[in-house]
């Protein structure tokens, strides 16, 4: 009897969970990516898409995240990412021979060339932050891949959130 009830309960829970994941979330809850980004940096950059230079260059040692994530339809830096960008700025302004490429991305929704624009907007946000904090313009190049280089191929919010990003790649 008791086992039967818990079976129903877990079934209901699964059904509710499934239903919940199908409901579109108009105001995405801010995901706490900061810790995860640092931990999985190598995982993402070893995905093999494009940036041949897989290992993030960090002369100061320690793990420095190289992926910045963005909210839906937004190109604004989240507060926790400002610190990450600031640390890159310190590296770059401290060594003028360093070169960095900012690769902007968007999720797959909507039109492709417009998504190139969204990805570029995100790159430019990071670029402006770097410039303000002492990086010289000659050290930075930007590119946007729009929706063409996703890291996650799903069609759900989780996949979309992983694809809305800027990857910071040191090119020398």
């Amino acid at each position: 009897m008791f086992q039967y009830k818990s079976l129903i309960a877990s079934f209901l829970f699964l059904v509710l969970a499934a239903c919940a994941s199908n409901v579109p979330d108009p105001d995405p809850v801010e995901a706490t990516y900061s810790d995860d980004a640092a931990a999985t940096t190598d995982g993402y950059s070893d995905g093999g898409f494009g940036s041949g230079e897989d290992v993030p260059y960090d002369p100061m040692g320690g793990e420095l995240a190289t992926i910045i994530y963005f909210e839906f339809d937004s190109s604004e830096l989240r507060p926790e990412d400002s610190d990450i960008v600031a640390r890159h700025a310190v590296q770059l302004s401290g060594n003028s021979s360093l070169r960095v490429r900012l690769e902007g991305h968007a999720d797959e929704r909507g039109s492709r060339e417009y998504n190139i624009g969204l990805g570029e907007r995100r790159s430019q946000t990071v670029r402006r932050m770097l410039l303000i904090q002492g990086t010289s313009s000659a050290q930075i190049s930007t590119v946007s891949f729009g929706e063409e280089r996703p890291v996650s191929f799903g069609n759900d919010e989780e996949a979309y959130a992983q694809n809305r990003r800027v990857e910071i790649t040191y090119t020398n």
Binding site: P24, G47, G48, F49, G50, S51, R101, E103, E108, R109, G110, S111, R112, E113, Y114, I116, G117, L118, E120, R121, S123, Q124, R127, S137, S141, T142, V143, S144, F145, G146, E148, R149, F153, G154, N155
Partner: protein, 432 residues
């Protein structure tokens, strides 16, 4: 004799047109298919079989249009190959309204005469008849052209069976993906790989003479615009400025490209480039994303996507310069404008209840008709007769192509097993 009526009914219910290797699945049965007959062509030549089953190709083309239902050969009471052998009463009995007959005759080692006649059963007269020269290399196109003439005679609409499509495919290769730019006949046959790359390829665009394709390539991890000549495979890099280079489209006279440039500051704007001199002239300066430029058929206006009012909407600006004028007002997201070649309609990607769909605006009436039914539909492209569009949609994780008539009545999935397909673009009418 088999029961013709039950067979016709079965055809309507299944709504599957088999065209050799290209299976087409009809999604909407919005138009009653007209019963016709395409009689197997006669053959006179040195080999046992004609180089191409011309009647089958014509029949497949007409079936795929969604407007015709060719009857089965086994139901035909007679199979004339010359006009003198036509017996109209036999065809009246079968309920077909038109009959195509013809023959292929070998005239040389690699030379053939392809002849066809189209008859109106009720009026008991010939509507059109033609004889065309062909080689083994050109006989497919000749057969498609015959289908075009038959189609136009019966519908009043110019046929597009002798046209091509270009599209991009993406295949998983190890850790990354291989991108290919492909050109094929509009029925999916004869596909040729134009270009391939480990980096993304985007936004293919036909030149008005069909001889060249412009496209965006991300080789070297930055975007550049190339123009490639199809016959030779030679290509020239026409734009590789710092920042974004994107969304190329040829002007109607083939001499200019509209393109998107972002520059170092990443402010995407519309530019017009003279292809010969490579000089570019800036058209928009707004700090919004301005991209996806597309020409009006008279060459006077550029339609483009801009999010200057918050979300993406369609605007147009005179090529000679001036103020951008907003064109789309319905809904929160309208992008990727494409004018129909006759200038009467504007296709776009339109957000409709959370789904990105293809919609068409009649430019006179200003009303919007949603044509597709997917969640991530994109890249609409008009056929050169302005009657049908091709676009990309998603099936699970793969991109697939669909076509739809501009009135939305006939929509078809083009199932071709070519993997993840995107960005289809229909060629102009082909020269011979």
């Amino acid at each position: 004799m088999r029961n013709y009526l039950s067979r016709a009914l079965l055809l309507c219910l299944l709504s599957v047109g088999v065209a050799e290797a290209q299976l087409v699945i009809e999604i909407t049965e919005g138009v009653k298919r007209r019963p016709i007959a395409v009689v197997p062509f006669g053959w006179a030549g040195t080999s046992p079989n004609m180089p191409l089953d011309v009647a089958q190709l014509i029949s497949n083309d007409l079936t795929r249009s969604g407007r015709f239902a060719p009857i089965d050969e086994r139901d035909m009471l007679q199979k004339p190959t010359a006009g003198v052998d036509m017996d109209f009463s036999d065809w009246s009995i079968l309920g077909v309204e038109a009959v195509v007959i013809g023959s292929v005759t070998q005239t040389g080692q690699n030379a053939y005469d392809v002849q066809f006649q189209l008859f109106d059963v009720f009026g008991r007269d010939q509507l059109v008849g033609y004889r065309m020269r062909a080689s083994r290399g050109t006989i497919r196109r000749v057969a498609h052209r015959a289908a075009d003439m038959i189609y136009e005679k019966l519908t009043g609409i110019k046929g597009v069976f002798d046209t091509k499509v270009a599209y991009v495919t993406a295949e998983q290769r190890g850790d990354g993906r291989l991108f290919s730019l492909i050109v094929s006949d509009q029925d999916g046959e004869n596909d040729h790989k134009i270009m391939e790359s480990n980096d993304p390829i985007m936004s293919p665009a036909w030149s008005p003479d069909s001889r060249r394709l412009a496209y965006v390539s991300f080789e070297g991890s930055h975007s550049s615009i190339f123009i490639q000549t199809l016959r030779t495979g030679n290509r020239i890099k026409v734009s590789s400025k710092p920042g974004i280079n994107g969304a190329p489209a040829f002007s109607p006279d083939g001499r200019k490209l509209v393109l998107t440039l972002g520059g170092i500051d990443g402010n995407l704007d519309i530019y017009v480039m003279d292809i010969n001199s490579r000089e570019t002239r800036r058209l928009t300066t707004h700090r919004a994303i301005d991209t996806e430029g597309s020409w009006s058929p008279d060459g006077r206006y550029i339609y483009f996507t801009s999010d200057r009012s918050g979300g993406p909407q369609i605007y147009r600006i005179a090529v000679s310069g001036g103020k951008a004028e907003r064109i789309s007002f319905e809904g929160s997201y309208n992008a990727r404008p494409r004018l129909s070649p006759d200038g009467s309609k504007l296709a776009m990607v339109h957000l409709n209840r959370g789904n990105y769909r293809i919609a068409v605006m009649d430019l006179k009436r200003k009303d919007l008709l949603v044509l597709s039914a997917g969640r991530q539909d994109e890249s609409p492209s008009f056929a050169p007769n302005s009657d049908t569009l091709i676009y990309a949609t998603r099936q699970s994780r793969n991109g697939v192509l669909e076509s739809v008539t501009a009135d939305g009545l006939i929509r078809q999935r083009l199932a071709s097993g070519k993997g993840d397909v995107r960005e289809p673009v229909w060629s102009p009418f082909q020269r011979f």
